[in-house]
Symmetry: C2
Subunit: 239 residues, 2 copies
C-alpha cells in the first residue's frame, strides 16, 4: 500500500502514571484511516524535553506526517513548543498573530491576559498556526510535525482543521467476518488464504461470547474488489 | 527518584487502524505506579517484524524493564515471539513444558491440539514462562523483556504473575488539589511552588465543569512528608 504514513506522539506524565487514559490516539487512528493515511507507529513520552526531542526527531524522519498531543498549555510542565523548536534547531518566541488571537479571546471572556496565558503564544520560527475553535490557544505545524493540545475536545477540533490540508491516499477499507470458532481452529486456513492475497492485510481478533470462543477475521486494503474476493473465499471457508 | 524504569510496547495493527482501543497501557501504568516502577515510555507498533525488533532493542537497552502486549496467538499475524527471538539473536522452537501445558488445556476442553495451537509453544531459547491462568498459552520473560498476550483479561493475569517477581521501588504517591480556576490563573504561582520542590513532580490538568474552567493540580513523589508539605503550601495559595 503506497498510502502516506504517520506517527503519533502523546506527551504527558499523566498518561504514563495511569492517572489519565489517553483517548486521542484511538481518535486519530480512525480519522487517519478514513483519510487514507496509515498510522504505523505511536509513542507516549513524559513531559521531559530530552525525551520529546529524541522522539520527534526519530518520528519526523521516518514518517510522512507526525501528530503530537499534549503540553501546549500555560503551566510550567507545558514544554512541548520549546522542545519542538529545539528538535528542529529553530528559535521560539511570542508571535504577534498568536498573541492577537489569545488577547481577543481573554478580552471577550473578561479574563486577564497574564504572563502565563501569553506563554501560549510562543511558537517556533517558521511554523504555521492550527486553529483552536474551542479555547483559542493555537497549535502549530512545523515541517511535517503537527503540534496539538491534549484536551480531547481541543485535539479533535485541531485534527479537523489539519486533516483537510494533508494529501491522503485511497481510503483504507476493511471488512470483518465474525466466526464462532476459536483462533486455533481457523488459523491454518486463514494463514493460507492471507498468503494468496499479499496486497491485503489480514488479522484475527479473538473474543469470548457466552463462554464460547469466536474470532473476528478482518481484511484490510485499498482495492474494494480485492477485499470482496478475499471475503468470498473467507465465507466459503468459515461462513 | 531512583525507582526502576519501564517501557511498554503494544503490538498490533488493530490498535493503529483504530479498530480496537488499547486498554492494556492504562492498566499497566497503574499497576507499575503502585509497584514503585516508573513507566517512562510506551510505543505502539504494527504486526511487522522489523518494527518490533527495532522497538524492543531500543527499549530494552534504555529501561530496566520492558512489557509487551499482543501477537502471541496461533494465527499467521502473531509474530511477536519470533521477533523477540530475532531481537535477542537467539533461536526459537517449540518447548516441551509449553507443549505439555497447552496439550493438557486442549485435552481438558476436548479440542484438537493442532499445528496452529502448537505454534503457541514456540518460545525463544533462554526464556522463562509466564503463567496464563485464563487460556493456558504462556507468555515469557527473556532478559528484561516480558512478553504477554493482547487480550486484556489474559494480559492482566500475566501482569499479576510477573509483577511480584520484579524489584520495585518505593511506591509512587500522588495527591490532587482541585481548584475552580483555569490553568492560566494558577500557572505562575504553581510554577514557582514546583521550583521549590525539585524532588517532586507537579502537573496541572484542566477540566470544564458546568461551563466553568477548573484545574486539577497533582503532586507526585515517593516521600509522603514532602508531598504533604507541598500540598499545604498549594492549599494556602489556591485552596
Amino acid at each position: 500500500m503506497a498510502n502516506p504514513t504517520a506517527a503519533m506522539l502523546v506527551i504527558g506524565d499523566e498518561i504514563l502514571s495511569g492517572r489519565t487514559r489517553d483517548s486521542n490516539m484511538h481518535f486519530l487512528a480512525g480519522e487517519l484511516t478514513r483519510h487514507g493515511i496509515r498510522l504505523t507507529e505511536a509513542r507516549v513520552v513524559a513531559d521531559d524535553a530530552a525525551a520529546i526531542i529524541c522522539a520527534v526527531n526519530a518520528l519526523r524522519t521516518a514518517h510522512d506526517h507526525v501528530f503530537t498531543s499534549g503540553g501546549i498549555g500555560p503551566t510550567h510542565d507545558d514544554i512541548t513548543a520549546d522542545a519542538i523548536a529545539a528538535a528542529f534547531g529553530v528559535p521560539i518566541s511570542c508571535r504577534a498573530d498568536a498573541m492577537a488571537l489569545l488577547r481577543a479571546h481573554y478580552d471577550r471572556a473578561g479574563l486577564e491576559f497574564n504572563a502565563a496565558r501569553q506563554r501560549m503564544a510562543r511558537i517556533p520560527d517558521g511554523a504555521s498556526l492550527i486553529d483552536n475553535p474551542v479555547s483559542a490557544a493555537p497549535g502549530f505545524t512545523l515541517g511535517n510535525v503537527n503540534v496539538m493540545a491534549g484536551v480531547p475536545r481541543v485535539f479533535e477540533a485541531m485534527v479537523a482543521s489539519v486533516l483537510p490540508t494533508l494529501t491522503g491516499g485511497e481510503p483504507l477499507l476493511s471488512q470483518t467476518l465474525r466466526v464462532l470458532r476459536g483462533e486455533g481452529e481457523i488459523a491454518t486456513g486463514f494463514g493460507a488464504l492471507a498468503a494468496d492475497f499479499p496486497d491485503l492485510a489480514m488479522g484475527s481478533y479473538p473474543f469470548v461470547q457466552n463462554g464460547a470462543h469466536g474470532t473476528n477475521l478482518v481484511v484490510r486494503g485499498t482495492d474494494p474488489a480485492r477485499i470482496d474476493a478475499a471475503m468470498t473465499r473467507l465465507a466459503a471457508l468459515f461462513g
